[in-house]
Amino acid sequence: MSAPALTTRNVGKRYFFDSERVLGPLMLFPAVIYIVALVGFPLILAVLYAFSDVTVGDPRITGTENFVGFENFRDVFNDRVFQKALRNTIVFTLVSQVFVIVLANVLALVLSADFHGKRLVRFLVLLPWTTPIALGVLGWFWMLDSVYSPIDYAMRQMGLLGPDSVFGPGRNMYWLGKTDLAQGAVVLVHIWRTLPLATVILLAGLTSIPQDVKDAANVDGAGFWRQLFYIRLPLLLPIMAVAVLFSLVFTFTDLSVSLVLTRGGPVNDTQVLSTWAYFRGIQGGNLAQGAAIALFMLPVLIAIAIGMLRLARRSENN
């Protein structure tokens, strides 16, 4: 024991809090408590609510008499609006994400090149993600107005809209008033919203492709398309998976787009799980049914979380 080395462990002996065993958990404790109390507990409560009869007026589960088994799920599932909402959630998410993957690859390629005004372009294309979503969607809401839409005006000027024209005798398209157009608008706004996120994630991946790989490809005389399909895209696949998983989560669980743009209309044709949970659970006061509706998102979210864990593990091992 002569002349012990000056390691932190030895120096730290003087203070109780220097022990990693004590200090580590102690510093982590507040974060864990916050998450367990306000994410973990409500998550369990969501499941309990779904099997109970709680309402906004009486939100407490006091005993077994509050539990009603699968009644909420039965009621919810037999509701035609719910069936629409479930289908819309899946279709809107899948369709918008296909566009997002393709467009994000194009946009990331553009932003990885050098050109004048790149900073401005980057700022502009990121706007849909960097601004509060409800406010951005309000802009679309006004642009797609039933009377004053500038798109309608432009179409009238081009002779596409109005008497004796391709899109009919009316002066307006009623973008948010007709089922197919309103659904298209919701999908469009979802694309608009998640494209920037997917793009910047891909961009981070693009810039990390080693320069010597690019140089080697150039020396070997590989052209743009060859490099794109044989080098960039394969190297980008893991990061593309990250981008897709994130934009899937944000699109699949989004409430703001459908709510602000159409309030689920016309006749519930743009209703999604989250809006329907809101209308039933909060506005309608039936917390139990609202919770049951929202719970239908859980399986997909668990699948996505597992995908994320796998990716994170893989990148750690590399």
Binding site: P30, Y49, L126, A134, W142, I201, T253
Partner: protein
């Protein structure tokens, strides 16, 4: 190249230049199209907010132009005759509390996960990050029950309490990235100099992590401004609302829309937030790429 006869060389250079011009044109064209697609709703907001009623509601007018001279009356209306100022005030108040809670909880947690917990810590870090992906739309219904039990229904403090549930997971993850880059030797030296571990952290790790803490503050702020779902579910009276929900619910009365003031409110909040966010974006993305990209 040098071996080619002069005419051929000329021709090949010419076609090379033609190809180059074409590539640049495609590049700029694509950039312009994407910029327009992304920015048009905001451009439309800004154009609308300065229009007079006469101009806006005359269907014969070209909506792309100012047919009447631009006016500031709508912004005046927004500022003086609506609850907009209250919404702004509430949002800032909530944001300050959220920022404080987030920093106080996140800094020690990130330190602990990076320095004190080994491999086990980085796994737990990923788990905490995944909590960020539990969406408000899954939790907002039971959360209204929790809020009611705490006596916070219809109060802005409900949001100050609940918003850290998404700022903490994300910012812990961000902060872990910063903590990893702090050289361990400085801290060790401080401890050799006789400081306790906490003293050493306070004197070495915290000052070096100031940029990280600043990033955490900015993101807590922007995420608070972005939040919509909880705010919509928790609060009904206009005196307690935040900007993103208040503008949407209060500036629309039944079927009457104060379009210019509505657009003014949206633009005046959205664009400054975008500028702030944009400035810190690279750090945000570093968090989002899950370490799959080494920066």
């Amino acid at each position: 190249m040098a071996a080619l006869p002069p005419t051929q060389r000329f021709a090949s250079e010419e076609s090379g230049r033609g190809k180059h011009v074409l590539a640049r044109t495609v590049l700029y064209g694509t950039a312009v199209i994407f910029s327009l697609f992304a920015a048009i709703p905001f451009g439309w907001m800004v154009l609308t907010m300065f229009k007079t009623n006469n101009d806006l509601y005359n269907p014969r007018n070209n909506p792309f132009l100012y047919n009447d001279p631009p006016t500031l009356a709508n912004i005046d209306l927004l500022w003086n005759d609506t609850s907009f100022r209250t919404f702004i005030f509430n949002t800032f108040l909530i944001a300050i509390v959220v920022m404080a809670i987030t920093v106080i909880i996140v800094v020690p947690a990130a330190y602990s996960l990076v320095r004190l917990s080994g491999r086990w810590g980085s796994n737990l870090g990923i788990l905490i990050f995944l909590v960020y992906l539990v969406p408000p739309t899954l939790l907002f219904i039971p959360m209204t029950g929790v809020i009611a039990d705490l006596g916070l229904q219809n109060s802005k403090w409900s949001m100050a309490l609940v918003y850290p549930t998404f700022t903490i997971p994300f910012c812990t993850w961000l902060m872990m990235g910063f903590m990893r880059s702090v050289p361990w030797e400085i801290e060790e030296q401080a401890m050799i100099d006789g400081y306790s571990r906490i003293g050493a952290i306070w004197r070495t790790v915290i000052p070096i992590s100031i940029p990280g803490i600043l990033t955490v503050v900015i993101f807590s702020f922007t995420l608070t401004l972005h939040e919509f779902v909880y705010s919509l579910a928790f609060v009904q009276s206009s005196g307690e609302k935040t900007v993103s929900v208040g503008v949407f619910t209060e500036l629309i009365r039944g079927d009457v829309y104060f379009w210019q003031s509505l657009m003014a409110a949206a633009a005046l909040v959205a664009i400054p937030v975008a500028l702030l966010y944009n400035y810190f974006l690279d750090r945000f993305i570093a968090g989002f790429t899950l370490g799959a990209v080494k920066g």
